[in-house]
Point group: C2
Chain length 223, copies 2
């Protein structure tokens, strides 16, 4: 899969395996929406840090959230550079040669800086979107944030202006001279799968497991 529909910036141009580069916003959005978590990179005292967290996308904006006491959120809230990367693993690519082993995956890299979200309506909408990102339908059931909880949550916004995706799919690509070797080759598909929900022990009687928990799957999951 290779599409170049909008011009990438010099920093987001995929250099290794350029045929895997994807700059189409719809494709980038679909990967951001399916990926459950992201890895946030930032520089503190000159050193790199990478922290996993939950994100959501709303239009052209990526939102992160967390505690006001979080070192990451306090650092990012100062407007420094940030790199947010999401990766979906789609399969193991087992080639005949060790050298041609690979992975099928879809990843997105977003470069930018974070803007603290102060306005109440945007903050509430972002938190609702984060819950919906995790489990579509859940925000209609869960108790909304109180004013105190809202004040106790930091929300950051990052523009998707500078983003690119990298995608590998399909079978192994072995060298011609290796294809006749008596070695099995192929792809083992992977997906993030949900098991049966585990209800909290202290639930009031008569509550049933909602559909979004009973039949959980990522939006647009490929399989």
């Amino acid at each position: 899969m290779t599409r170049v529909e909008t011009a990438p910036s010099p920093r987001t141009t995929v250099r290794r395996h350029p045929e895997r580069g994807v700059y189409d916003r719809a494709a980038i959005d679909a990967i951001l929406d399916e990926a459950l978590c992201c890895h946030v990179g930032f520089v503190n005292d000159g050193r790199p840090f990478v922290i996993p967290t939950i994100h959501t996308r709303a239009g052209d904006t990526l939102y992160l959230h967390g505690s006001p006491a979080s070192r990451m959120l306090r650092t990012l809230g100062g407007g420094i550079d940030v790199c947010v990367t999401v990766t979906i693993l789609d399969g193991l690519v087992l080639a005949r040669s060790v050298y041609n082993h690979s992975m099928n995956y879809r990843s997105v890299v977003v470069l930018g800086s974070a803007r603290p979200v102060e306005e109440r309506a945007e903050k509430l909408a972002a938190l609702e979107a984060i819950v919906e990102h995790v489990a579509a339908g859940r925000s209609a059931d869960a108790r909304p944030p109180s004013d105190k909880e809202l004040a106790g949550t930091t929300v950051l916004a990052i523009s998707l202006d500078e983003a690119s995706a990298k995608v590998r799919s399909g079978p192994p690509k072995d060298f011609d001279e290796d294809v006749s070797l008596p070695i099995w080759a192929g792809v083992v598909p992977l997906e993030l799968a949900a098991g049966p929900p585990e209800s909290a022990r202290d639930l009031p009687a008569g509550l049933t497991v909602p559909g979004y928990a009973r039949e959980y799957r990522r939006p647009d999951a490929r399989r």
Copy 2:
């Protein structure tokens, strides 16, 4: 789950939710070994970058590999600071309140710098370990690297001296006043699951799918 068995460094001390901090090397190793991929953070021209890649652990060393043309590997090979983070998602934690929603996860952060692996035996062992990390048993089947392929692969080593893990497990933790609300709460377990292997179309006749592909699972996967 909270264990503090070795003293964390100031930089790897878990500050947010300190009860989730884990500094026991066996626990850290198990997470590194189960996680299929990692996210590598580094600073280039003062800006953070986060790139997904495959890692492996051998004793006290984390190995990464890739093309000598890779910007990431060339940058890291210069001995600059690196942060390698792995994250395993174990479940959605759906609480009564939006505020107490969470994830069950196990993550490890490794801080250090990368050493290019030049010695042939260590390089071959690292590449074999990377294949074994992806699919235990595969390296006995696949064609080993030729001298040319070995020269065309960069391997980097990072010490595990400075590493910490962060783990959340168990049910939602709601506020007492929320427990009686008529809202379902619980955990949706997650795991990276494998589907039926897709054999390459150009396989010689008579090859069967090996067990590590037919019944693929991560080592020490919890479920």
